[in-house]
């Protein structure tokens, strides 16, 4: 039996059933369906992966023709190769752990069933996104995860702030999606298909490297990618999206959906290789985003916002890797990041859960002894995030920095920027650890995480530690890129610097936030320091800029036009009619004198005209 269609279908059916029953089912059955369907899907993926590792056979499966008009014939069809399997494993594997965790985290929520309906729907959409054989089906998954993200960010709908964050997430990503839709139009119009493999072949045979059309097409696709993956300039939605329940942030806004942009570029990398300009743009976007977000993460107070900016920053690394054609390294970092960032979010969720929904790190402290499980999770997650040696993050980030260094021309710049980012990453992640888990306790936890929360944490700890040793079966997918990149002599001094940088960052964080041997209060209290902190705290004021440039003009225009300016024209016609009606009606006054006068006047006029004619 073919397992492929079953994999997205399991969570999809569960979601539809949960929606159709509208919360009537007892929580036990919801648990079974919600977490069970994703667990089963994970088992299917495992069996599929085992088969793939054994025979390396790429599988393709067409279910039915979706639309057929002229030569436009996208199908509901799946394509499973190494890249797809990596993504599927992350989605269902990490996804299952997060579902398990949610069982406890959401246990007291009145909308337990609605939560799992949305979560399952998300998993199904995300699976369709990565399994799609053509770009239109990918777009279906792409928009599907967007809607699920909207529904889950605004899950607690009673607070209008959550609704606002959800709308922002959807609308900002939709800006990117629209660019992507135009990209699909361009690709189809020029190449006559949207099926990914034939499309790549057609692009390679019809276009030369450096042509304008592939550049435009890839830039449009990139628009979609930066929207979904929260990269500059469309990154502003992600920090606000933290309004959703924390497991949602772990699943959607750390492990899976936000990496969809990375997947898209990796999936269509042959197209991007035809457009070196776009690739360079990708690299610079990645670098700029990773630095901007890292600086912002340094000064945040909200535990989830720190992690959100850290996610933006880490995806920046993935973009950087894509930009230097290190696709395998990028996907590798995608996977390790999914492990350790899901771990960090779940651990943060545990802190919030046990601390009466406290988000501010300065009201925490001393939790090391009070919540030991969470503390060790956080330590391991932060170590991997900071890329301390022998954690999973170390291997993937090291691979990215090395590839950046080897990029001809701009390489050293990208490498240096990435290194600065690594330093900042270590500082902000251990700032978080030291402030939350060491020092004085400001709030006492009122409970300990139970087994359903501790087990996923433990498993993710393991993955965050050993994930770096996984060998991903990506050579088949990226064969065309491999030929061009081929690793040269590994530069040992570069290696050593890469290893040392996070350790330096750890030391700085220790000196600043734990040992307090060094004080920077003289700088932070100065007016420049305050201004800089404020600037970073507000995410470099990008939000304010967009508000002034886009939101205000749009809503101003809407307010101005609210009462239908076009109607002024029609009202004008009506007024003209009424005016002529009144004027003419006035003639018919019923006064004999008036009639007689006008008759005489008319007669005189007539006679005058006749006389003129006669003459």
């Amino acid at each position: 039996m073919n397992l492929i269609p079953l994999i997205p279908l399991l969570p999809l059916c569960s979601a539809l059933l949960l929606i159709a029953t509208a919360g009537k089912l007892p929580n036990k059955i919801v648990t079974l369906m919600g977490a069970g369907s994703v667990g089963l899907a994970a088992l299917c993926v495992a069996s599929l992966a085992q088969q793939f590792l054994a025979d390396g056979q790429v599988q393709q499966l067409t279910l039915w023709t979706w639309i057929a008009v002229d030569n436009f014939t996208p199908a509901i069809a799946f394509y499973v190769d190494g890249l797809t399997l990596v993504m599927m494993s992350v989605i269902t594997g990490v996804g299952f752990l997060i579902h398990l965790y949610s069982l406890e985290f959401m246990a007291e929520d009145e909308s337990f069933s609605r939560y799992f309906a949305y979560m399952n729907l998300f998993v199904a959409a995300m699976l369709i996104l990565v399994m799609a054989d053509n770009l239109l089906l990918l777009y279906l998954g792409w928009e599907g995860v967007g809607v699920c993200s909207y529904l889950l960010v605004g899950f607690w709908y009673r607070d209008p702030a959550n609704g606002k964050a959800a709308r922002k997430a959807f609308v900002v990503t939709r800006v990117g999606d629209t660019a992507m839709a135009l990209g699909l139009c361009l690709l189809f119009t020029e190449l006559g298909t949207l099926d990914i493999q034939p499309l790549m072949a057609a692009a390679n045979s019809n276009w030369q490297t450096g042509d304008t059309l592939p550049m435009i097409a890839t830039l449009l696709l990139l628009g979609g990618a930066v929207g979904k993956s929260a990269q500059l300039p469309l990154h502003t939605w992600l920090p606000d999206a933290m309004a959703g329940p924390t497991p949602v942030s772990a699943l959607i806004h750390a492990a899976t959906m936000v990496t969809a942009g990375v997947y898209l570029i990796a999936r269509t990398h042959e197209l991007f290789l035809l457009a070196p300009v776009t690739l360079e743009v990708v690299a610079w976007i990645g670098l700029a985003t990773l630095l901007l977000a890292a600086f912002t993460a340094l000064v945040q107070h909200d535990i989830k916002r720190i992690l959100a900016y850290s996610t933006i920053s880490q995806i920046g690394y993935m973009f950087l890797a894509l930009g230097v054609s290190a696709f395998s390294a990028s996907i590798f970092h995608l996977m390790t990041h999914a492990f350790f960032k899901a771990l960090l979010f779940l651990a943060a969720g545990a802190v919030i859960h046990c601390l009466h929904h406290e988000h501010n790190i300065f009201r925490m402290g001393g939790l090391r002894t009070r919540l030991p499980v969470v503390f060790w999770s956080f330590m391991i997650g932060s170590a991997a995030l900071a890329a301390l040696p022998f954690t999973s993050g170390f291997y993937s980030k090291d691979a990215i920095l090395l590839s950046a260094w080897e990029q001809p021309g701009i390489g050293p710049w990208l490498w240096a920027g990435g290194l600065l980012g690594a330093l900042l990453t270590a500082i902000y992640s251990f700032r978080l650890v030291f402030i939350v888990f060491f020092g004085e306790a400001n709030t006492e936890p009122d409970r300990q995480p139970g087994l359903k929360m501790a087990l996923p944490l433990a498993l993710l700890c393991g993955l965050s530690l050993v994930g770096g040793w996984f060998v991903l079966p990506l050579d088949g997918t990226f064969s065309s890129a491999l030929a061009s990149s081929g690793h040269g002599e590994v530069n040992h001094s570069i290696e050593i610097i890469s290893i040392a940088t996070p350790l330096v960052g750890l030391l700085i964080a220790y000196l600043l936030f734990l040992g307090k041997q060094v004080s920077i209060s003289r700088f932070t209290d100065s007016s420049l320091g305050k201004r800089l902190q404020d600037f970073w705290f507000n995410g470099w004021r990008v939000d304010g800029l967009y508000h002034q440039l886009l939101v205000r003009p749009f809503s101003g225009l809407a307010r101005w036009w609210r009462n239908e300016p076009i109607d002024l024209v029609y009202n004008g016609i009506v007024a003209l009619n009424q005016w002529s009606h009144r004027s003419l009606a006035a003639l018919q006054s019923g006064e004999l004198r008036w009639y007689a006068t006008t008759m005489v006047f008319g007669l005189v006029l007539l006679v005058a005209i006749m006389l003129r004619k006669a003459a």
Binding site: T65, I67, A166, C185, T189, F554, E564
Partner: protein
Amino acid sequence: MSLSTLLLILLAGGLVAWFSERINKDLPRWVSLATIVLALLYLLAMVNGLEVGSFSVVPDPTSGDSWLIHSRQEWIPRFGISFELAMDGLSLLLVVLTLLLGVIAVAASWVEIDFKPGLFQANILWTLAGVSGVFLAMDLFLFFLFWEVMLIPMYLLIAIWGHENKAYAAMKFFIFTQVSGLLMLLSIMLLAWKGHEVTGSYSFSYFDLLGLQVEGRLGYAMMLGFFVAFTVKLPAFPFHTWLPDAHTQAPTAGSVLLAGILLKTGAYGLLRFAIPLFPEASMSFAPVAMGLGAAGVIYGAILAFAQTDFKRLVAYSSVSHMGFVLLGLYAWNSLALQGAVMQMVAHGVSTAALFMLAGALQHRLHTRNMEAMGGLWHNMPRMGACAMFFAIASLGLPGLGNFVAEFLILLGLFKVSPWMTAIAALGLITAAIYSLWMMQLTFQGKPDDSRDLKDFGLREMTAMAGMVIALIWLGLYPQPVLELAQPVLDSLQNLLDTGPKFAGAAL
């Protein structure tokens, strides 16, 4: 079995419904429902009779003849006016949509109408008859007759059973449609007179007039007569201002019919008459038409966002979505035309559902002002879930019918004008803005526990479920609809490619 019987069923059903009011006040709605179901069954039986066995009502596309049924009876022979009805895949699709949304309209007004329920149901059925007639008439004079016939019961629906400002809205609706209709009548008469000049005899038959191909200034002017009539109905920017008023004031069933099917007569008219009768003029006019379409997409979306009245918001969203139809029609290639047809169907369903929701909200809260709502999900989760579904459908989520429509239009349009496509695509963003804003104002936000509101019951959920399934089906397997329309669109495109000769051969 004939098409005129189909129309007769609806007209007679209206009379029966009207008089049944005297027996029992609850009877008319049952009569109405039975009549529509009967008409549907009759239609299906008729279609089934054509192709026994499989549901392939489409004749051989290679023959170029895509007509399923055609009947012609002399009416006013002196002027060549006949009672000519014909049905092809396109008309079949639209008549089925008309009747199905008729059922929805009756369901939506099941408990809403206390005043003269018999006459109310009669007007619904007569509207359905008029609209079906418009989709079936192949004599231009008869077409004009039906065009006017569908106007009057709709006017009465708004004027009698409407809300606070009904007289104004009904009058505005009537005058807009009437004035533009007169322009079309003028064009029709001119066209028949031109035909007389060429052939020596009068004929109002579509098939006779198709081959005329009046060119030059006169052709352009006549085309404009048709264009204005149809774009007022569509409605396209800047002729749309009657729609928000009519929708806001109409009773729920009126809004459902108005948005679901009456607007589609405008799109149908452009596709069937305005463009094929005047191909040359239409093609030179296409940039203007597409410009109006793109303007409508953006303008409608911005104004939708600005509204606080639920029905007005949905009305402006219709203006935006119909802009896509106009773009698709004047891009005039298979992809865009299929998209336009699909949009007619999908928008019909999704907007009918949104108006039904609006009606249900008004019935329960006695207001359409969204600022007085908020947090309704807490009170009515079932209704909230339905609203969320149709809001998301309306913003074009892939997997639902509206996406297939809009994407096909964009894809076809891109071949003609990438820049126009880019502008129209902005509509995808603005649609997200107003749809989600609508959800925020109504169902999300802080709930008011003092409200005691009844969630959707079985009747409403059945209607909603039907429309949900329809949109998912159109979104994931639109092929039956596409195949139904394809031969018609092919032959219309051939008509423009090969000119008068082809039209002559088709007779």
